[in-house]
Subunit: 374 residues, 2 copies
DNA sequence: TTGTACGCGTTATCAA
DNA sequence: TTGATAACGCGTACAA
């Protein structure tokens, strides 16, 4: 091109030059005023006026190139449809927004190559940091994490020696809370509908379940254990398989989506909850409260983990020299109607047709639930 | 500073200069090779080698500043927890990813100032385009839309003369489909649980409902109409209020979250679905299939609208001179157990306790449902 | 084909 | 306080 600098951007929109020229000052002065540093009252007035007149808006990209920061934080989760990630996302978003940044959400579908590709793309410097919650952790992950040029915080289990900020929970203890609760309620034939065993949460829940049973001297009956996917349909199908060969008096599900699927599978074979089968889910999502009866669920503190992860990330962005930190959020059990034994009215099974239509006193299902901590 | 250009970025990472120096060529040659245009075989080899050795990754920000494109598409929806937006988001993400771009998701909480702030922020040029699905449309919206420097596509109703790409559906017809269906099934006392009337969808559904009743010569009974929020809890509460003063034989809900709330409110007063009350939701989300019994729902083609919106946006980005386009997606009704009359087995109410525990043949609830189009 | 040099729009430095 | 100018890292006319 070779021509001298224009007074407006390529698409005709105003730049600092436009404002400076209009105000009759240098671009340096214009920039200073626009950033609120320095400038004589007169200069400030002229620049502000000129900026308003032309409708100047700073170009964030140019600013980023200069400042080496984009103000974007990425979040990578497996399934954006799973309410547990929605809760986590909301908590993260709150912290991120609070800091004046924006959140970029990626759904990875749980595919390893997607996740590693995402991690590698961090090298492009389009985001200032990333929070990732992988359900599988491979060497490829660890490698990509290790040489990421921007800060990353992992939500979930990670090898002990991985030098990465990490917020985890102890799902094995969470499973134990649920088993303890069910055993205390007199249940012995406790079934377990899990997610894939080659995932980190799946494996942890499996070993946690077996250990918890052992604690109570209950022998593991493999027929009472079924594996599906961390989804509603798969959970329902898995439960149907389980029910076709065994008769549990309680059912623990690896997450709430599975638990809702299990609930419907139980309905399908006309078994009542909690009378015939006590049901406990995990993650304590909105879904557990939206089910009927409301489902007891092990809270793994998703919102808390999300919030902490975001806070850790912001801290690291502010000071990259921090040593790797590892935090743990304690699980707790929220007991609701699906496994309650104390109040039979809360655990009433859905409508039968023999009710009088006039007595329409709503029963109390909106109870917050009783929380049990480890 | 005044010092000469360094060979690596401020944080020590390699730049084109690093690669060029290492390969013994000019930055222009390095850049060309890295972009796959031109270069002698020997140069290509040297540059590729050097790039690999230093682990060069292009800086996306610098590239964006140069190219005037970021490859980011923003999506603004009210509530990321509402499955209808999840479905829409997935459809959009597919198109966006296909084009090699990334999706940035914003939750606005339905607040007008949030949305307009977001629209104005577009002026910062951080995204190449935006898809927004506002539930309220104010003058502030229209103004912000009008002078947005980057392309915007609106999903939802918009004033006729708004010069903005727009993908809508006809929810009034959708409501009519549901009412027709319920009337055909012999229902006459049709209740309606709506969202806020000061929202675009709320207002459209309300007028649609009244018009549909009129079509069938049914007089509107205000006691059968209740308004809450587009959420589960509010829907449940609203339904409880309605049930406390009236006895509908059918219930139409403004979305599936409300419908699930209504289902549980009905359970709460021991009214069976669909025997006592036929239930129809709207949006046809996963939730409708995850409920028990599965809920009939008016599909407003969220996924289709999302996909089309994304396609329109990409087209406009490619050619900004296109005239404003307006597309409409036809609603359809998916009939499931909650309002089915043909097959009583599909509509079985949830478990009673008097079942034989051994006969565990799962019943078929996973039916895709029967689709009815306008 | 290769290298020089400029521009993308902004902020920061330094001398006046 | 102000203005000229150098970066930020990249792509690309243009001339060689």
């Amino acid at each position: 091109m070779g021509r001298k600098r224009l007074q407006s951007a390529g698409d005709g929109r105003p730049t600092v030059h436009t404002v400076a020229a209009r105000a009759g000052v240098s671009i340096a002065s214009a920039s200073r005023v626009l950033n609120g540093v320095g400038g004589s009252p007169e200069t400030v007035r002229k620049v502000r006026e000129a900026a308003a007149e032309v409708g100047y808006v700073p170009n964030a990209i140019a600013r980023s190139l200069q400042s080496q920061r984009t103000g974007l934080i990425a979040l990578a989760v497996e399934d954006i449809g799973n309410p547990v990630y929605v809760a986590m996302m909301r908590a993260i978003e709150a912290v991120v927004a609070e800091s004046g940044r924006q959140l970029l959400v990626h759904a990875t579908g749980g595919q390893v190559d997607n996740e590693t590709a995402l991690l590698r793309r961090l090298a492009h410097r389009y985001v200032d940091g990333m929070i990732v919650s992988p359900i599988r952790v491979t060497d490829a992950h660890l490698e990509a994490l290790a040489d990421s040029p921007v800060p990353v915080v992992v939500v979930g289990q990670l090898p002990e020696d991985a030098p990465v900020d990490n917020v985890r929970t102890d799902s094995r203890t969470g499973v134990a809370l649920a088993v303890d609760h069910l055993v205390a309620a007199g249940r012995r034939r406790i079934g377990f509908v899990n997610g894939p065993l080659d995932t980190v949460p799946g494996a942890a829940r499996d070993s946690g379940f077996r250990a918890a049973l052992a604690t109570h001297g209950i022998e593991v009956d493999e027929r009472l254990i079924e594996v599906g996917d961390f989804q509603y349909a798969a959970g329902r199908a898995a439960t149907e398989r389980l029910l076709a060969r065994a008769l549990p008096d309680a059912l623990l599900c690896a997450n709430d989506l599975i638990a809702v699927g299990a609930l419907h599978a139980l309905y399908g074979v006309h078994r009542s909850v909690p009378q015939d089968v006590a049901l406990v889910g995990m993650d304590d999502t909105e879904l557990a409260q939206m089910a009927f009866p409301q489902i007891s669920s092990v809270s793994l503190g998703s919102a808390t983990r999300g919030r902490r992860a975001a806070e850790l990330l912001l801290e690291r962005i502010a000071d990259p020299t921090l040593p790797p930190r590892r935090e743990q959020v304690a699980p707790s059990l929220v007991v609701r109607a699906s496994s309650a034994v104390t109040s039979a009215t809360d655990a009433v099974t859905p409508a039968t047709t023999d009710v009088t239509a006039d007595a329409v006193t709503p029963t109390a299902h909106g109870l917050p639930g009783v929380e049990v901590t480890a």
